[in-house]
Structure formats: structure tokens, C-alpha cells
């Protein structure tokens, strides 16, 4: 029992991390399955989301007039919520722009789209560095969700509990959106056979743009929630991209269940190895991936897709 008690905070950390990884991976897998593009800029959108949220929470005007000073007099909690709503919208708009650029590569080699997003990742990261500088920044969080509390003699970070709850909430919302709304049905149909969706009279370019924006927004949200744990640096995106890839491959490309299961598995692996051998915590996810793929070539829930041809 004592052992379990010691383990519990690490389990919780791992779970919080895993659920947010799953959120990043969900956006990624939506883009991959509808557009057949590996979005290497996903991590940069993740980082950009956090930076935009930081600006919304604390715009830092010096001489701002009545509206600005009114805004700054709002409590931090309210500004945080505003950031949580508007920053993903900004990222979705960036995603729309990226998708419009990407259109030029449709119908050509798949690698071109992939490489275009690699270029976009470089550009976004450099833009972040240009605007906010290379130094580590700080995303403020309201008092209600920071600090720590003690239960059963162990210290828990309040923020991680919040992050876990938020992760669960966001994943359920995405699931409801995909399963219970007509838009979700169209997206799933588009992932299954985009030509057929077009033949049925649905505006495919618009669908692709919206899906890309939606996936980007999910990355942005994950960025806002995760960067207070990780710290906010221009290259933080890469720390998000790699787990997202691994989770997608681990869970199986295009599978919702796979992304969530993979995310939680990777989060737990990182969290638990972090408890005993913190130096090696990141290695555990690569080993997990190789172990799974050696026995199941398309991941846990993967099906054969057009992407392999």
C-alpha cells in the first residue's frame, strides 16, 4: 500500500501528460487521415498556441488607454479563460493559412507536402524566436490551479490534476464532436474516402481547411495547458511533435481509440520511468514504440491505409 501511495503522484503525472499527448495526437491524426499529410509543423503550432495565450493574458502595452487598462484590471482567471478560448482560434486561422499553402502540393508526391510542413515548422519557430526572443518565457496561470496540495501524506501538484481533468474533458468533447454531430460524420467520411465525399457534393477543399484548422487548434490548446509544466521556449514544439508521432504510430494511424490509448501509454511510460530513472524517461517511449511495432506493424488499432502505398 505504501508502494502504491508513493507511486500515485507519478501515475497522476504520467496520466496528465498522456492525456495531453493524446490531444496533440488527435489533431495530428485527423489531419493525417483526411489530408494524408504528416504535419511536421504541428509542434510549432503547439508552441505558437502557448505564446499567443501568453500575449492574450498579458498583452504588455505600456500606454494602453481606457480599454487596455480595463482589460488589465480583469482578474487573471478571467483573462486565462479568454486566452483559452481565443488563442486556439488564432492558431486555427494560422492552420487555415498553412492549409491554403499546402494545397499546391496536393496530387503530387506525398513527400512534398511533408517537406513543406517541415519548412513551415522552421519558419514558425524562427518567427517565434524573432518576436519573443530565445529566452525561456512564463505562461501565467490563475492561483486557483497553481500550487500544491497534500493527500495521504503525498504532495500533488494542483496544476497537474487540472491538466488531467482538462485533458479528459477536451478528449470527450472531441469524441462527442466526431461521433454525435453531422460535421463529425463528414470528417470521418472524408478520412475514409475523400473522393467519395466530394462526389456526394460536399465541399472538399473547405472540409480539408476546417479539419486542418481544427487539428491546429487542438495543438494550440494542448500547448496552453502543457507549457506551464514544460516551460515555454521557441523549440518546445519539437518536444510535442515527437511524442505525437510516436503515439500515432503506436495507436495506429487514423484511429481515435489508438490516439487516446497510445497517448496514455506513452504518458504513463514517461511518467513512471521518470520516477525511477529520470534521465532515461524519454527513451522509454521510443522503446515502447519499437516493441509495439515489431509485433503489430500498423500499431495497436491501425488498419491498412492509402498512406502505405
Amino acid at each position: 500500500m505504501d508502494f502504491l501511495n508513493n507511486l500515485l503522484p507519478h501515475l497522476l503525472n504520467g496520466l496528465a501528460l498522456g492525456l495531453l499527448f493524446a490531444l496533440i495526437a488527435l489533431g495530428f491524426t485527423l489531419i493525417v487521415s483526411v489530408m494524408e499529410i504528416i504535419n511536421l509543423a504541428h509542434g510549432s503550432l503547439f508552441a505558437l498556441g502557448a505564446y499567443v495565450a501568453m500575449v492574450i493574458i498579458n498583452p504588455g502595452f505600456t500606454d494602453s488607454g481606457a480599454l487596455g487598462s480595463y482589460y488589465m484590471s480583469l482578474p487573471l482567471g478571467l483573462r486565462y479563460v479568454i486566452a483559452l478560448v481565443f488563442a486556439p482560434i488564432v492558431i486555427a486561422i494560422v492552420g487555415f493559412g498553412l492549409e491554403i499553402i499546402l494545397r499546391r502540393t496536393y496530387g503530387k508526391k506525398k513527400e512534398y507536402g511533408l517537406l513543406l510542413t517541415f519548412g513551415a515548422a522552421l519558419v514558425l519557430e524562427e518567427i517565434i524566436r524573432l518576436i519573443w526572443g530565445p529566452a525561456e518565457q512564463f505562461l501565467p496561470t490563475p492561483d486557483a490551479i497553481s500550487g500544491a496540495f497534500i493527500a495521504h501524506g503525498m504532495i500533488y501538484s494542483t496544476y497537474r490534476v487540472y491538466a488531467m481533468c482538462f485533458g479528459i474533458f477536451a478528449i470527450i468533447m472531441v469524441w462527442l464532436f466526431l461521433e454525435k454531430t453531422p460535421y463529425g460524420a463528414i470528417i470521418k467520411a472524408g478520412a475514409h474516402d475523400s473522393e467519395m465525399v466530394r462526389a456526394l457534393g460536399i465541399n472538399l477543399p473547405r472540409l480539408q481547411m476546417l479539419v486542418f484548422g481544427f487539428g491546429a487548434a487542438l495543438a494550440g490548446i494542448a500547448g496552453i495547458i502543457l507549457t506551464p509544466i514544460w516551460g515555454l521556449r521557441p523549440h518546445v514544439g519539437i518536444d510535442a511533435t515527437i511524442p505525437a508521432f510516436l503515439i500515432i504510430v503506436l495507436g495506429g494511424i487514423g484511429s481515435f481509440k489508438g490516439a487516446v490509448t497510445g497517448g496514455i501509454l506513452v504518458g504513463l511510460a514517461v511518467g513512471l520511468t521518470g520516477a525511477y530513472a529520470s534521465d532515461w524517461s524519454l527513451l522509454s517511449m521510443y522503446l515502447l514504440l519499437i516493441a509495439v511495432l515489431t509485433f503489430r506493424s500498423r500499431g495497436l488499432f491501425g488498419k491498412k491505409t492509402a498512406l502505405e502505398a
Binding site: V32, R104, K108, F118, L122, D279, W280
Partner: protein
């Protein structure tokens, strides 16, 4: 098509021109505003990109973890050099170690296709990068191996001191020529045509009787071994080996080099691309600190406007000069269909 099915001569005119330009570089470099060290760097990256293009351009396998083998080569050379200082033995060890690592990785990759292949290479690349940072007692952690002095090569009758950039350049240039001659043979051999068959349609290649996984395994291993050679040379040049070359970004750069030159359409694509990449770094880097931003934008523009790269543009100009503008389009259309 990259090659004619009827085979190709051992040496052709383009190759001779390139060799002449390469070997005379130390003579005209300073009057062209370049410096000797730059030539060494470009030649090394040309070796790296040429080996990489075997995988990307010829076989159509996008590897995003190729920096790992460059790094393994650099570390292997550095470690060997600190124990037994001998340049050629060190380079051989670099090739063997990188080839071995690539061979092991390729066992996991050779049955994978498309997106799964790309993602697995990322995972393996990250593992190597991670190990290079964490195995401090071997690799020196984040600092890497330092102070690997450029040795003197003793040929009994004469000796060459590699601390001079010019003599180092000639060592690299001769190895580059060897790599070009070997790769030229490889891509025009039946093995090379099989590689292109796999790029065109892997399933058909298998039905045509090729043992696809074995071919993919060997080309990955060969490509990794060449990256190891480049890594060893990089270690000589920079007198150090460090984990940075193994990061995802660095691995992405070789993909950019290969494509911006036109690796998909020509043997010479990666050569052009590596030259453009290094020159762009220096030229844009001298002008602004955020050279990666501009290079990234340039790269995106290339991908949008002319994804066949510099060689693609050149071919288009050539076709227009010959007055048959239509000559280019059907080829790329046919290729698009085949892919």
C-alpha cells in the same frame, strides 16, 4: 526517369566538369570570395546528401533520422582517433559503425512503407540522438568529444598535414570523387533499377520478383554507411563530434538539401542542393541572424512553385531553349501517375 535502362558510361561529361571544378576549388576560391574551409564543408555535405538521395530520390524512402548515422560516424571516428590515431583506419571504422547501426535499424524498417517508414526513422533517429546525449562516459554528453586533433597522414615517402584546410580539402575531394563513381555505378546497376522500381510501385516490384525487403535493407545500410563516412570527415574537419548533428532538425536539413537541388529527378540534385544549402547559410547568415527563417521560406517557395528543385528549373529552361516546351510536362505527368 533518373537513368536510362540501357546502362550508362563509367564517366560522363557532367562528371568530368564537376571533378575539374572540384579539384581546382582551392585555386579560385579566394578570388570568388569564398574560403577554403567552406569547400571542405560543402564536399562533406555533398557526400552525405548523395548517399541520402539513394534512399530518398531513388528508392522513394523518406528518412527523417539520417543524422543519426552521420553522428555515429563522427563519434566512431573520434573515439578511434583518441585511441589509435590513424585517419584511414578511423574513417573505415566510421563507415563500418554507421553501416552496422543502419543495418540494425533497417531490420526494423525494411518491411515498412510510406508514413510508417518515415515515422519509424524519426523514432530511431531520436533514439540515437538521445543516447548520444545520455551516454556521457562514451560520448561526452551534450558537449560531445572535443580536441580530436587533425593528424598527419604518413605515406613514408611524403606526409600530409591535415591541419591545413587545403590538404584536408583534397582528402575530402578524392573521397567525394570515389563516392560519386561508386554511386553512379550503383544506380545504373540492376540493383539501381530495382530501387527505382520500388519507388514507382513497391507492390509491383515485389510481384516482378524483386526481394523488396532485402533491397530496402541493403540500400538503407549503404546509405547509412556513406553518411558515416561523411560523419568521420566532419569530425576531422571540426575536430570534434557532438550530438547536434543527430537532432531532428539536422536530419531534416539533409532532406531539404536533397530536395531543393532536385534529388527526385537527377543524380546531381543533391550535389546542387548541398552547395545551395551551405552557400545560402553563409550568404543569408551574413546578412541576418535569422537565416533559418528566410531559408525556410525559400524552401517552402521551392516546394510550392517547383518541387523538382534547381535541377527541375534547369531542365525546364533547357527544354524551352531547345524550343520544345511540351517536352517536360508529359514526363512529369507520367511520373505523377506512376507514383
Amino acid at each position: 526517369m533518373l537513368t536510362s535502362p540501357r546502362g550508362a558510361p563509367l564517366v560522363n561529361v557532367q562528371m568530368l566538369i564537376f571533378f575539374a571544378v572540384l579539384l581546382s576549388y582551392p585555386l579560385w576560391a579566394s578570388s570568388a570570395g569564398l574560403y577554403q574551409y567552406l569547400g571542405v564543408e560543402i564536399a562533406i555535405f555533398v557526400i552525405y546528401a548523395l548517399g541520402f538521395n539513394l534512399l530518398l530520390g531513388y528508392t522513394g524512402l523518406p528518412s527523417f533520422g539520417h543524422g543519426a548515422f552521420l553522428g555515429v560516424g563522427a563519434y566512431a571516428y573520434g573515439l578511434w582517433q583518441s585511441a589509435f590515431p590513424n585517419v584511414f583506419a578511423g574513417l573505415l571504422i566510421a563507415i563500418v559503425c554507421a553501416g552496422l547501426s543502419a543495418g540494425i535499424v533497417a531490420l526494423f524498417l525494411s518491411h515498412r512503407r510510406g508514413i510508417y517508414f518515415a515515422l519509424m526513422t524519426i523514432a530511431f533517429g531520436q533514439i540515437f540522438w538521445f543516447l548520444s546525449i545520455k551516454l556521457r562516459w562514451i560520448t561526452g554528453g551534450e558537449d560531445g568529444l572535443l580536441n580530436i586533433l587533425r593528424p598527419e597522414i604518413d605515406f613514408r615517402f611524403t606526409s600530409i598535414n591535415l591541419s591545413s584546410n587545403v590538404s584536408l580539402f583534397y582528402l575530402v575531394a578524392i573521397l567525394l570523387i570515389a563516392v560519386i563513381l561508386i554511386l553512379w555505378r550503383v544506380v545504373h546497376s540492376p540493383f539501381g533499377t530495382a530501387l527505382q522500381a520500388i519507388r514507382m510501385n513497391e507492390t509491383r516490384a515485389r510481384f516482378a520478383g524483386h526481394r523488396v525487403w532485402l533491397i530496402k535493407w541493403s540500400v538503407f545500410t549503404l546509405s547509412g554507411a556513406i553518411a558515416g563516412l561523411a560523419g568521420g570527415l566532419l569530425c576531422i574537419t571540426q575536430e570534434s563530434a557532438y550530438p547536434d548533428v543527430m537532432s531532428l532538425h539536422a536530419s531534416g536539413f539533409v532532406v531539404m538539401m536533397t530536395l531543393i537541388g532536385g534529388g527526385f529527378v537527377s543524380f546531381w540534385g543533391p550535389v546542387v542542393g548541398a552547395i545551395v544549402f551551405i552557400l545560402a547559410r553563409d550568404v543569408i547568415g551574413a546578412w541576418t541572424e535569422t537565416w533559418l527563417l528566410w531559408y525556410g521560406l525559400l524552401f517552402m517557395a521551392v516546394m510550392i512553385v517547383e518541387p523538382e528543385g534547381v535541377v527541375g528549373v534547369w531542365r525546364r529552361i533547357e527544354a524551352r531553349l531547345k524550343g520544345k516546351t511540351a517536352g517536360v510536362a508529359p514526363v512529369s505527368a507520367a511520373k505523377r501517375e506512376a507514383v
